[in-house]
């Protein structure tokens, strides 16, 4: 069974916006074992969309069209589908009545242009849209002697999600294809090439299972799935996970949609501990990541962005002699920041980060990308010096990864 996604909208052909809605559809296809063979983006032009639709129906069993269901002249999807399939349209009273009521609730009469949203395909049902005005469609059709399933969804993410959950997912499930139970492992503090090397025996053992390794923003993730019943698949995934964890060791920090800041939050919460931060080159990003997690006020009292030398001394209590002797970017200052954060905020753990994010400020001795990280606890202070490449944004991001990693490893040992 081959699927294709067509996203409709000229704005996704411009210089700043790409289609991301298709990822939502893909998630459902992947889970239920339907292969996605192509995605495309087409502008709001009837002729182009018509050609795209015909060509896609020639080669794919399931065609998902998103967008172009709005009330404006630019919204051509239903017209094009009606033309290509030769199905007349009719006004559906239920959809119209709901729209009229919706506008009345807001205190306006329904604009006449909205009426086209109530058009549905003669002889076919439609998908209810509890989150908006445009109905969706599932048209099972004969296309030159072959059965095709054409799904039409709104381009508004929230409305799309609703229909994927309510209509598309259950239909995919009913197809009865081998379900894919996915597992994702998340790894930090190890380059992709090293992970690949450590996983050689794992790849060999599970040769028949597609395993994907992805690197993104300084961390890597390992994705694999198992087929079969829930129980069988679960047993296989557990075995695969155990093997992968044995290969990668404690660098595996989480699974599924975990982030390292979520994992750290859970660890701190369960231990009744807290962490405070004094960061320089990361400029607040480390605190931002910690507080990205809902509920973080339970384990994070606060932090200092100690950008200038004065602030490192006055607000965090770094020893002026250390700054004078070793410079602001040094092991001593990172240790001082970590200890100062822990002390000033009364936290279980303190993290200190100081470095040169660039593009300026580097020297031969301390090039751009040099970062010192320290984690303080009642057991003492751990320190790492690391060089990051890839420009200011990467240095800052990777430095926060390394700091969170060092904290996590410290907690595991404590």
């Amino acid at each position: 069974m081959r699927a294709a996604i067509i996203a409709v909208g000229s704005e996704m052909l411009g210089i700043s916006k790409v289609d991301t809605n298709s990822l939502e559809v893909t998630r459902h296809l992947e889970e239920w074992g339907v292969e996605l063979v192509r995605k495309s983006v087409i502008g709001d032009h009837a002729a182009d969309l018509g050609r795209e639709l015909r060509e896609t129906l020639d080669s794919c069993d399931v065609v998902i069209v998103m967008g172009g269901l709005g009330p404006t002249e630019d919204d051509v999807t239903k017209d094009v589908v009606a033309g290509v399939l030769g199905i007349p349209m009719r006004e559906e009273g239920e959809v119209l009545a709901k729209m009229v009521a919706l506008f009345a609730n807001r205190g306006y009469p329904m604009p006449e242009t909205n009426r086209k949203q109530a058009l549905v395909f003669e002889g076919h049902g439609y998908l209810r849209n509890p989150r908006g005005t445009a109905p969706g469609f599932h048209l099972e059709i004969d296309w030159s002697g072959r059965t095709r399933h054409l799904w039409i969804f709104p381009g508004v993410l929230n409305e799309l999600r609703g229909m994927l959950e309510a209509d598309f997912g259950p239909w995919l499930q009913m197809l009865g294809l081998p379900r894919r139970h996915w597992r994702t492992l998340r790894i930090i503090g190890m380059p992709e090439s090293l992970a690949d090397e450590k996983l050689k025996a794992f790849y060999e053992k599970y040769r028949d299972t597609p395993v994907t390794i992805l690197a993104s923003r300084g961390e890597i993730s390992l994705h694999f799935y198992a087929l079969g019943s829930e129980d069988e698949a679960y047993a296989k995934l557990l075995a695969m996970e155990a093997d992968a964890r044995e290969a990668l060791g404690e660098r595996v920090y989480g699974t599924g949609d975990d982030t390292i800041e979520m994992v750290i939050g859970r660890m701190l919460l369960s231990r009744g501990e807290t962490v405070a931060i004094a960061e320089s080159c990361t400029g607040g990003l480390l605190s931002t990541r910690i507080t990205d997690v809902a509920g973080s006020s339970q384990w994070f009292p606060g932090g200092v962005v100690a950008y200038s030398g004065d602030v490192k001394m006055s607000m965090v209590g770094v020893d002026p002699a250390h700054i004078q002797q070793h410079g602001e970017v040094s092991e001593e200052v990172a240790r001082g920041l970590a200890e100062g954060a822990r002390r000033r905020f009364g936290a279980t753990w303190g993290i200190g980060v100081t470095g040169i994010a660039g593009p300026d400020g580097g020297s031969e001795e301390k090039p751009v990308g040099t970062v010192h990280i320290a984690v303080a606890s009642n057991a003492g202070v751990e320190h790492r010096k690391i060089y990051f490449a890839g420009g200011r944004e990467n240095v800052r991001r990777f430095a926060t990864n390394a700091a969170l990693d060092l904290l996590r490893m410290g907690m595991r040992r404590a």
Copy 2:
């Protein structure tokens, strides 16, 4: 002249990665007046790519294929092109020699698999790739009696960019189509619907010029272009910009690729002033945005992430009585944070932010999304209370927009 982009790579059909390289190509097409009519993503399968290529050549004059030029079995682009166009391939000594030398430099012999990267199309030139091993191609061909331009680029962003600059851009320029000179205005602190309303006369006056308004992450941008010679276009853009600025007023904070944090940095630098931050619900994001800008140590001494009530008092000097009487999320505490930041860091300006990012912590009186923002200077303290919708991430992001906006407006008045 109609263009299409085909991105090749199964990883872009998965659940986590979308094609973004096409934006780089689009930028060039837009500048030189070539219309992009479709984009697609195809997996690493010869049959699917072959069909896609044929169908696209049927309907488009310029076809850009990206990716699938690597050394592995998955890299099928050149094979498919050779098959579809019926052009034989030959090994190009110059490309091979460069690869061998490159591997020798790294201390390895070249793996035999890399040899396929040296294959080029018989009777056609190739595009040099100074940043990698895979050459690119520009094939001018006859397709059923019509001239087609097939461009083939590596999928590695850096290598793609090099060829777009060196080869594709100059070729587009030579086509001599009416060049589009673009102008972007950036606006903060005004909803899209209000901007649309204020721009009614502007839209009417420039009815013949496509004007795009985009909303993203709590700010909006206005994009338009002028055709013609540099001088003519510049004059027209200046006139359009003046009219748009008159309609939108001081809410226009910048142009082109400006961000509000860059604009604030430039303002502070030119005035020899500094800003310090004490932020609660934004958790470090406001400091992060200020320090996203290279050189920000010249105008940003530092900040405090004052997440707990204790830290608001001990590290920023907020009056305990204010917290007790009005709560941590209140006008009084926001003012105290702004004044405290200014005083403790010895800065010209101080920003204070306190609010409820959610999902928990809201009440009837102070629902999730309530944020108090204050900006302190020697002229006093400005305060705003705002409600943001859209969940934790949006509340945090939009609150930093509002804080940066309030600072910018304060600086304009000072």
